[in-house]
Assembly symmetry: C2
Homo-oligomer: 243 residues x 2
């Protein structure tokens, strides 16, 4: 993207939730979708909060057409719920859905780790080493946003090593619901260091091309996130519902 003369294309919009700027050369719907999704996942727009399409129009300075596209997509992601003629609301975090997402993610990523070990090369080791370094760096700096991205890159790298990168997009859609509480959990430094330690165990198994070992390490790693819920749920009880 050309960053030289963006100024003319930027349209600012002051809002209750912040200031959003849109690049008029890119599809508005896509940008609105990404922004809203980010706001919801990071809980800056809280669960159960009402969303008005017209208000969003004002926030971004666009008409309802692109806003509706974005809102429809978010509804399909399960992040918001639309009640015709009544209103649209940010979905609460459903505990049953969390369990199901956890199950699905574990099944997919354990299988990916197993397959990745079969195709692991020295080049993958090099790549993952750089990634792990960044994880440590960002964790120590308390940069939870960057750590989140590092974490994503780590798991995606494993999918790529398995020559099944497309499966990662499936994992992403499944774990969307987890990201909402993940952003909160990553604020705890002890937790991030724990995660990094588990990542290193996985890498060790991958590097020694041990499929079963990698699968087991991944299973352990993903099981530990369960504890995150147990810790967070009482802190934000109003965000969660059973079903």
């Amino acid at each position: 993207m050309n960053l030289t003369n963006i100024d003319a294309r930027i349209i600012p919009a002051a809002t209750a939730h912040g200031v959003f700027a849109l690049d008029r050369h890119l599809p508005a719907a896509e940008q609105v979708y990404r922004q809203l999704r980010n706001e919801i996942i990071t809980c800056r727009i809280a669960p159960n909060e009402a969303i008005s399409e017209n208000r969003i129009c004002g926030m971004f300075g666009v008409s309802r057409s692109p806003v509706r596209v974005a809102v429809t997509r978010l509804a399909e992601d399960g992040l918001i719920e639309i009640f015709p003629q009544r209103g649209t609301f940010v979905a609460a975090i459903k505990l049953k859905q969390l369990r199901e997402a956890q199950f699905a993610r574990s099944a997919l990523e354990v299988a990916l780790a197993e397959e990745a070990a079969r195709h692991w090369t020295e080049q993958h080791s090099d790549e993952v080493r750089i990634n792990l370094d960044q994880q440590v760096q960002h964790a120590r700096a308390g940069d939870s946003r960057s750590f989140f991205l590092d974490n994503e890159a780590f798991h995606q790298l494993i999918a790529r090593a398995a020559k099944l990168e497309g499966v990662w997009t499936t994992v992403q859609s499944v774990k969307t619901i987890w990201d909402r509480i993940g952003h909160l959990a990553n604020r705890v430094p002890a937790h991030t260091l724990e995660i990094i330690a588990e990542h290193k165990v996985i890498v060790q198994a991958l590097a020694s091309q041990n499929p079963k070992g990698a699968a087991a390490a991944m299973k352990t790693h993903l099981r530990s996130v369960d504890h995150a819920i147990a810790r967070l749920q009482p802190l934000h009880a109003d965000y969660f519902v059973e079903e």
Copy 2:
């Protein structure tokens, strides 16, 4: 993509794909989506075929607004591809995507079968027995549409037995790409009887509450679908692309 002979593929809606009647009391967008999705999955609208929003408007007798919602959803399902200011086309079946979907589906359903065996009850056995009877009945009658639904119900029942019914929706979205060729494959009677036999092996393991056995049986079952591609691909070579 070759855009030079698009004109040859543009066919008046009324003669090519019929005119669809809509229930005006239900949301138009949802109905358009379901109809179009069905047409694409059953290959009545062939891969690479051009889709014009305006033409669809004519087919259903609605404006572009609900059509756009439907088209956008189909694009997210990966069934169609939108090229801004150029056109919208039914996506070709990507072999790499098929492999990835197969991997993901297998990982999910094997894990589901394993979990289902742990929670299997006599009532589940009763339900699945009725379902298997219908499979045999519809297979013998050559009713591929009903057999497809039976098959879906069978796998969904296993997810429900695992107390993880929500995971089934993930499986569904992943296997959408498979359904497109599945509808063709189910026309072969020998193939359906083979599938039923494999289903029975799975049920046996589930009924004896044998998690590892159920997982293995499911794995075998889902692996056999690979053969379906090998058989179908040469018959519809123009529907497939590597990536």
